[in-house]
Subunit: 165 residues, 2 copies
DNA sequence: CATAAACATTTTATGCTTGAAATATCTGAC
DNA sequence: GTCAGATATTTCAAGCATAAAATGTTTATG
């Protein structure tokens, strides 16, 4: 492998192997492009077919998995978005009658959020379509390739900073 | 292979092979997670190191490649974001002195946008860091895997709707 | 030349996103 | 019991994103 030779600069913006680095940069741009492409198609489909958005769908998907509902903070940690962001999305979903806020016993700070019956029904319809849309857009990737790609993506997502190691 | 039996519903949300479809759905979630992870790290790094954002960097990167600058509409088409969006980002970059708007001769509708000298310098510093950040975050993917992954991502991004075919 | 259509850009309304500050409540140390 | 710190949520300010409407300019057609 590498011989650890002659890397003595402050490393602030140095890169181990320039060619590999450029290749990774191109890979990142493609990763971003593919993701944005799929996201854009989903956005449009959700809008035209259900008059809703991806973030709203994400919230509903998270809640559909847990009958008892989730606290606002749990929701924001599951979805990995900020607390304040969840507040706004949930507000609108409650207005639309697909979610309810339920006070938590013995802790007046917290609220649980749950899907209503109407919310569950709406979600089921959207989830089926969502899966079909994805299936079509990722149709170019066949079963044999999925595993390898999944592993690589997982490594990217789980990589933590050198600082934290 | 499939025997084409009994698929007689309207196909509105049917899926060819349920198992493959679920696998693709999981792959999509991982793709999204990896992309969001990298984007989030970049966002934070850009903010703390340069007090700027990814969209601003993207605009500067597009302009750095073209000495003569780009028209607003070219910029929005290169970056694949809406016209109105570009207006706001460019406004702020002009306020900060990294971009200038230059009227186009013989067409008073259009404006060209260019990096200033200060903008070019700032961009060079940011681009070096950016590459190093990506190199570190995608370090888990090695050269031998990059090609295959790139190809798959390209297929995903280029896939057009059946409608358009 | 008039004027309709096309084009380039900006404006507007709405929603998502973040980080940070504010508000309210709970818990534990004393 | 009091009160400092932790916890849960909301509010706020700023920026990014879209689609659609508005504004101004150019071009082509009669």
């Amino acid at each position: 492998m590498s011989d650890h030779r002659a890397i003595q600069s402050d490393q602030l913006d140095a890169v181990s192997d320039p060619a590999a680095s450029k290749a990774r940069l191109r890979l990142w741009l493609k990763l971003l492009k593919a993701t944005k492409h799929v996201e854009g198609e989903l956005r449009e489909s959700f809008r035209t077919d259900f008059d809703t958005t991806l973030p709203r769908f994400d919230v509903m998907a998270a809640l559909d998995r847990v009958e008892a509902g989730l606290k606002m903070s749990e929701l924001s940690s599951v979805l990995r978005v900020s607390n304040g962001n969840v507040t706004g999305i949930v507000d609108r979903l409650v207005d639309d009658g697909v979610l309810v806020r339920v006070p938590v016993d013995h802790d007046r700070r917290a609220t649980t959020v749950r899907l209503t019956r109407a919310g569950k029904e709406q979600f089921a319809a959207m989830a089926a379509k969502h899966e079909a849309w994805i299936d079509e857009m990722l149709g170019a990737v066949d079963a044999s390739e999925i595993q390898a790609m999944s592993d690589q993506l997982e490594r990217i997502a789980s990589k933590r900073n050198k600082k934290d190691t």
